[in-house]
Each structure stands twice: as C-alpha cells, then as structure tokens.
Symmetry: D3
Subunit: 198 residues, 6 copies
Amino acid sequence: MSAPPPISRYPVPTLDELPEDIRARMLEVQEKAGFIPNVFLTLAHRPDEFRAFFAYHDALMVRESGLTKAEREMIVVATSGANDCLYCIVAHGAILRIYAKDPLVADQVAANYRKADISERQKAMLAFALKVALRSVELVEADYAELRQHRFSDEDIWDIGAIAAFFALSNRMANLIAMKPNDEFFLLGRIPRNNQGK
Amino acid sequence: MSAPPPISRYPVPTLDELPEDIRARMLEVQEKAGFIPNVFLTLAHRPDEFRAFFAYHDALMVRESGLTKAEREMIVVATSGANDCLYCIVAHGAILRIYAKDPLVADQVAANYRKADISERQKAMLAFALKVALRSVELVEADYAELRQHRFSDEDIWDIGAIAAFFALSNRMANLIAMKPNDEFFLLGRIPRNNQGK
Amino acid sequence: MSAPPPISRYPVPTLDELPEDIRARMLEVQEKAGFIPNVFLTLAHRPDEFRAFFAYHDALMVRESGLTKAEREMIVVATSGANDCLYCIVAHGAILRIYAKDPLVADQVAANYRKADISERQKAMLAFALKVALRSVELVEADYAELRQHRFSDEDIWDIGAIAAFFALSNRMANLIAMKPNDEFFLLGRIPRNNQGK
Amino acid sequence: MSAPPPISRYPVPTLDELPEDIRARMLEVQEKAGFIPNVFLTLAHRPDEFRAFFAYHDALMVRESGLTKAEREMIVVATSGANDCLYCIVAHGAILRIYAKDPLVADQVAANYRKADISERQKAMLAFALKVALRSVELVEADYAELRQHRFSDEDIWDIGAIAAFFALSNRMANLIAMKPNDEFFLLGRIPRNNQGK
Amino acid sequence: MSAPPPISRYPVPTLDELPEDIRARMLEVQEKAGFIPNVFLTLAHRPDEFRAFFAYHDALMVRESGLTKAEREMIVVATSGANDCLYCIVAHGAILRIYAKDPLVADQVAANYRKADISERQKAMLAFALKVALRSVELVEADYAELRQHRFSDEDIWDIGAIAAFFALSNRMANLIAMKPNDEFFLLGRIPRNNQGK
Amino acid sequence: MSAPPPISRYPVPTLDELPEDIRARMLEVQEKAGFIPNVFLTLAHRPDEFRAFFAYHDALMVRESGLTKAEREMIVVATSGANDCLYCIVAHGAILRIYAKDPLVADQVAANYRKADISERQKAMLAFALKVALRSVELVEADYAELRQHRFSDEDIWDIGAIAAFFALSNRMANLIAMKPNDEFFLLGRIPRNNQGK
C-alpha cells in the first residue's frame, strides 16, 4: 500500500490556490482544531457553494438557540447515522463528544438514539429530527404538539428541523464526492482532556 | 371559509420588516415574475438562513453549467416528486415548463421520469439524481461510469448530485414549515405564451 | 423528432376495427369530453377486459354514493400519486379539478394530501385509501373506527376501499402498457370555465 | 367459542336474496366445486361490482392464452403472497395444486418462487409479475426484453401483467372486507385424487 | 425430470458419516416423526454448528414456558412468513397444526396473523414478535407495556423475543443453503388424526 | 444522576449465582480482556441459552476458516450496523480494530462498507453478508457466483452467510433486552498499543 486513499472523488485545491476568504476560514479552523477538516478542503473545489454551505452551517450551528450546541450535534449525528454518512458520523461524532464532554454519547446516538444515555426530551427531539430526515412528507400536527409538550418552542422546532434538513444536504454531498473523514476525528473527545495527546 | 390558509406554520414578515438586502431581492423577483414566490416570504423569517439558502440556490441553478437550465429544473422536479414536496413540485414544475417551453414535461417528470418525453441521456441524469436523493449511501463507481457513458463530465455529475442534495434540504424545509405554493405557479407555463393571460 | 410517442406499448385499434358496443362508448365519451381519453383507446386492445374494466369503473365512480364525485376522484388522484401512475394522476387530476371546481386541489392531493386545502374528514378518507393502496394487510379495527368517527358509513368505507383497490389495478395496467395521458388533460379545469377554450 | 367467525365485515346475502344471474353463477360453481367459495358470497353484497369482478376474472383466467391455467394461478399465488392476502393465497393455492397436479407447488410459490420446483421460464414470469404487483412504476424496457428472451409473446406479457394487476385489486378487496377462505380450500389438491375424500 | 431437486446447496452427509451424537439425535427424531426433517440432515454438514443450533432450539422450544408449544410455533410461523422462509413456514406450519390441533391456523398465521382465528392476546404476542423480527431497533417501552397488559410476564416476553430472534438466524440459514422442506410436512396435521394416512 | 443505567432490562446474575461452567467462561474472558463483556453477564440470565449462544459463536468465530478473524468481525460490524445494534457495533467494532490492527476500519464499516479502506474482495464479502442480513429471500445463483469470482470457496460462503445469520439473532437479542456495551469497548483498539493505557 502506498498513497493514502484520496479524500474526495474531485480535485482538492491547495491552500494557495484558494480565494482569500476561503483560505482565511481554513487557517482559522486549523488554528483552533489543529488540522483542517476535510469538509473544508473538499468543498472548496466550488468556492461559491463552499461559501453558501458554511454560511448556512453557521446560521444553524453557531447562532443563539434554545438547543445547546451538544444537542444540535446530536441531531447531526443521529440523522447522519440514518443516512449512513461516514464523514458526518465520524466528524460530528467527535464534535458531539467534545461539546457533551461525554466519550460515549456519539456512538450511542449514531447507532440507536432510543438506547442512548440522554434525556427523554432529547429523545423526542431526535425522533422529530429523524422524521424530517426520512419521512418529512408525513409530518403532522401531532409531531409538533409532542415537541411542545417537551417544552420546545416553535423556534426550537425550526432549529431541530432545519438542522436535519441541512444535513440531508450535507450527507448527500459527502456521499456524492466520497468525502473521507480526517483520521484525527476518530479519536477526538474519547479520552479525558488532561490525558489527551500525551 | 374566510381567510385563505396560511403559507407557512411560522410568522411571515411583511416587506417593510425585512433587512434591506432581502427586501431588494424580493422586489427584484417580483418585478420579473409578477409576484413573490412564497419560498422567499416564508424563509425570510430567518434572514441568515435566507441568505445562505439563496446563495446556495444561485450557485447551483444560475451558474454556468454543462446542464441546461431546463435539465437542472428536471432534477428539482423529479427529486421533489420522490420526496413528495408540494411546494417544490408546483413551483419548480412551473419553472421547468417555462425553461423547457413544454407544458407537459413537468407533470411527467414529477410522476415518473421513465415515461417522460425526454432523452435517454436525461433519464440517466434523473436516475442518478434520484439515487442521490433516496439512497446516496449506495452510490458506487458504476453509477458515475453510467453518466460518463452518456457524456456527462465530472463537473456535470457534481451539478446533478449537488442539485439533488440541495433540494433534499429544500424539500424538508418546505415540509417542515408547511410552505404553500403561490396559486400563480399552478398555471404558469401551461399555455403557449401568446395566449396566456387572455 | 417526427411522430409523437405512442400512447401504448400495444397496438391501438382504430375506431372502425372495434366491436359496436365499444365504439359506441367511445363516441359517447368523445361527444361529452371533446376527445377520447387514451385509457379507452389503449384498453380496447382486449375487448373483454375493456368491458369489465369500465363496468367496474362505472359501478364505483358513477353509482349513488355517500361520497361526492369530487371525493371519489380525490381517492383516485391520491392513490395514483402514491403508485406513481402518470396517466391516472394527469387524467383524473383533470376530472377532479372539474368536479371540485378547484384548479389547485388535484396537484395538492397528488403530492401530499396532508397539506391540501380539503377538510379533515377528507384527509381521514385519503389516509384510509392510501393504507388500502399501500399496506392493506395492516388494516385493523381502529382504521374503520376512525372513519366512522368522521361519519362515514360502512357503505362509504366500502366505496373508499374499493376505489383504492380498483385503481391499484388501473395504475398497474397503465404502467404495464406505458399508457400516455392525452395532452388535453394537462390543462383541463385549470382555468375558470368562462375563459376556457377562448 | 360458538358461532364461527364471519366470512366478511359486510353483510353476506343469502342465495334467495340475490339477482337471478348471480345466483345462477353461484349454483354453477357449487355444482362443480362442491361448495361456494366465499369470494362469491361476500362480493355479492354489491351486485354490479360482483358482475364486473367476475367478468374481469374470466377474461383473464378462462380465456385462451399462451400461459397454462397452472401458470396463471402461479401468478395469482405469488403476487397474493407478496400482498399477504390470506383469502387468495389459500383459495388460489388450492386451484394451483389442482391445475398443476402438484401438492407442493402452491406453498412453495407463496413463500418464495425463487426456490420453487418450477422452470426458469416460470421464475422469470413470476419475477415480472411481482414487479407489476410491487413496483410497477419501475418497469423498463429490460423487463420486457427478459421475458421475450424466455419466449413469452407480447400478448403473454399482457396476460402476466394484467393478472398481477387484477389481483392487486382482488387482494385489496379481500383485505378490506376481511374475506375468509372456506375451510375446504386448505386441503384441496393436497392428496392424490384417487385417495381424496376417502 | 429425473433426480429430485437437492435439499441443500451443500453436501448432505449420510447417517453413517455422522458423529455418534448427531446420528443418535436423528434416529430419535425419525422414530418419533417417521422421517428425518431436512433441517437435521442439511445442518449436519457442520457438526459444531448443528449441536449449537439444536441446543438453542431446545432451550427455547422445549423448556417450560408461560407460552404453550402451539403459541411458540405461531411465533415461528409468523416471523418465518415475514422473512419468506419456505422451509420454516412449511415445517413449522405442520408442527403448529399438530400442537394446536387446528388444520387452518398455520396458513392463516403465515399469511396475516391479524386475520387468523386466534385470541387478541396471541395477536399482541405476534405483533411484538414481528417487531423483533423486522424492526428490533424500534422497540420501546410501550411495546413491553402492551404485552404486560395482556398478562405476559417478563420471562414470557423474553421467550417471545428470543424465539423471533432465533428464527431470524434459522430463516437466514435456510435461505442461505436453499434448504428444502420434506414433502411430508406439507400435509401433516391437515387431516383429523383418526383419518390421516388411511 | 446517580446509579449508572442498567446493562439489561432483565436481572443480571452475580458471578457467584452462576453455574460453574458459565462462571469459568466469564473468568477466562475477564483474565484475557481485563473486564467481562456485558453480553456474557446479561445472557447468563438464561444459562441454557447462554451455553448454546456461545457454542454457536465459537463454532463460527473461533474455528479454522478461509476468512481471517478480522474479516469475520467485519461481517459482524457491517450487519450490526445495518440492524442498528448498539452493543454489537461497539463491542465488535473494538474487536475488529484489534484484529485488523486498524483504528479506523470499524467506524468505516459500520457506517458504509462501500467507502471503507478494505479490499474489493472484502467489499464483495460484505455485500453478500448484508443481503443475508436484510433480504435473504432474494439470494440467487448470481450472488454465489460473484463470491466465487473473488475466490471464496463454498465453505467460505457458508461462513459469511452463517455469521450474518448468527448476528441477526444476536442483534435482536441485544435490542430485545436493551443490552449496553461496556464503556471499555468504546476506546479499545483506537490507540497504538504501546501508548494505550498510559
């Protein structure tokens, strides 16, 4: 075995080929994470789509919300599991472990949220998200009522559904271009921080 | 019966409540189409997501491409049909009729592209798009090879898959908020232009 | 492109090749509709099956019933949408628009009856019809009780189920022979009558 | 336990309540079979539908055809198995055993035609019939070509598809009214004729 | 036609090739049943797996249980029907007829337990078993509660689920090796005992 | 939060309540692994089923085979992923990482074997295993031929299918009793051995 398998079916631009704003974003994430996640490198093949993709991502995942950041990542991991998207399960699994400070929750949610060590409220959230991901045509009033009974506001429900919808796009792009997760993601967040990297 | 049914489960901002850039975009489309499609009005409830959504849309649907505009709308209509998204079938059906100058093709493609009056090459394009929409995990080398045999370039294949992926998002958002199509769309493009509106 | 695509995979008899009773029925429908729907022309390839088909159709769709004619056509359009039958969606969509005097309802019901502008009672009717169409083995007492709660009689329930069952046959025949809808159907009922055809 | 479970959710007319032609048909089948199959008794609740149903049945199952009567019953049993229709599996299973003079073939075909002791040609016939029954929208040129390669004529293909389509109706009616098979059918054709009834 | 079709894709050992314990088990069952069921002959190709298979089978099907033997066979027949396993439907259908002393129940349960002449309690048992067979990931607290309401103990629930699980294995093995049921099974238990074999 | 969530819906015996042979097996695995996997503790609730389960497991997973141990674990992880079985994905994912000496392969195979860094021959093996797991009724000659073309012997094919079949049982048992994976499994095999535990 020689060269590692490519991270995309499509050409991956080098940093110096990139428009300034995209390169800046990559350097920023590299500074923070220690490496550049492949979703940045591979989607940069199309700069306009790259910009829209991350603008959308940030609008949902970074904004103020009634959902915690860990809960938003749970939605990503659960729906990506249902869509069998290797990149998103692995990369967002790592992010979920870090936000939740829980080394086990990501694998649980990816396999079967019903058996995960999360609250009943979070299970209701994921049931709704999976319906959006898999059978959105069947959404009926009772689905919204169920979430309200768990004290989710209408804006929270938009967040839940919109995150599931955005990763319906994201999962399909990753599968389309055969995006590979960085090796780093597989281990991230699995070891208590004071030990990690030692 | 009194008030017409709402066009969204969520509040719909009035034009003067909107940020300047979003209002400008709406007035522009109104000028061109004669009315404001409800996707603009309803998604404006979240300005940041609105901006990202239409930036993504334009990056795929307006850019130079090996696919004609009519072919891109065929992908939208076929995948929206598979996802049972009322708004997208009706609105993009209208756009497809206009671009293709064909009053029948949208209903054909929404129901069953295999029986539509389109080329074998276009049927291969839609078969790939539907696989991205419905079973993207199962994409294998043979699917790409089939498209290349129909003289689609790798960039064309990205377009086909990315449009299917973007409307996976769009269909789910429309179903989530119960977005209703404008009445105007149902008839648009069904009558040869010199007769329409008489 | 020269000849229009055929309306059936099978030979289509000319009017003067037909048995007298079948020709008479065609002329009658032509007189009324202004054209002969392709379901008549294409099924006439087998006269005995033709006679049984239309006898069955009339027994369900023309008889006195607790369901209005528009409601019966809603069942046809909703179940044909679920079965992806191009001919029936387009042809019965036209008939539904005319009976309901509503240019929008057919496209709504074909895509997603849950979001259509119809009554809750009609939505319950279509939910039952779709269960007959797609998962009749799972029919249980509660399904019948639900319809009775919406004041459907047992005979109404037979009508709902039998129409769904008959179009299970009809949709499969249309798909088997690749029956094409007449161009006329696509526009019928979309424009207020006093304007139509002018 | 006292009264036997009813054979239909709907009222079953007595012989003397029936229109003359329907009673005559029942007496004829009783003379031949030794009992009246419940499909006659239960569908007689609606005489017009009864007449159309059996006219359609006879047009397909009694007419001259390139398919043997046993092959036509194989189609019925295989598609009824796929639709989980108790009445049709049991009743037509009996008829298949008798026509095929084979006490085992019906249970084989109902469970899994791929493992039944039938010819490769008959397996191709059943594969096509099941596609009509379950996914008729996906029928493509290759499906017809496959049958022609097994020396089925176009008229044979119509027969195969039309029988699958007719029993799509029949299975749904049986499930709708909870039609029960006569006890006699369960044993019919299972014992070589010279022993039966002894 | 000459040689009968083989009972397995794999070599079937003769009795004298077998380890003593396996031969003894076969002779025992032959003594009791009058023939050796093909599941014994075909699985004996792998003695260690044979021993584990029948040890598991006996642990579930022979042990003391809150379920009657007929009820346990109902679970086998219903789940094997859902998995389309010819061997298990036919062989365990025969055993069910014998244990239940009911010549009709096996065909009913294999096709559609909802319409079988069994108790509501038994229908709840089969609904749970089918969920284990087909969608075990979706098991939730309400499924267990439903069974407890029908007075099934927790140990009964283990039995129901474990039998469904064991035949998930068994059905797949039978399909993998194309195991054929013995001809004897097709007729067993269909005729009141004092008549049988005369 | 106080007590950790239970590892089973059913009572878990303590070591000293267990029959001698079962306790011995547990102590042996504990010696080797450093902990007792929960599948031992939870299934010990039923000693006879426990013995049969592990006898079956060993007959398939420990025996001499044309498949490497890592390949056999790949089958377990891929089919458990398809069945959404949390316990088996996590526990056998760990074992796969160790046998394959590859910290990434288990997460890849659980999500989508088509994109995993494994050989084409191994992908063909997993495609067959998944067909056994999900649609064994559809197995046809071509599936076996495909494996033979990849130089799998008939005995190898039995192994592939039987492992998929055994874990069809195992996955359903784990879902039935809500078996939880030990925390240790989540991290095992993710760090090169000379670093692990430091």
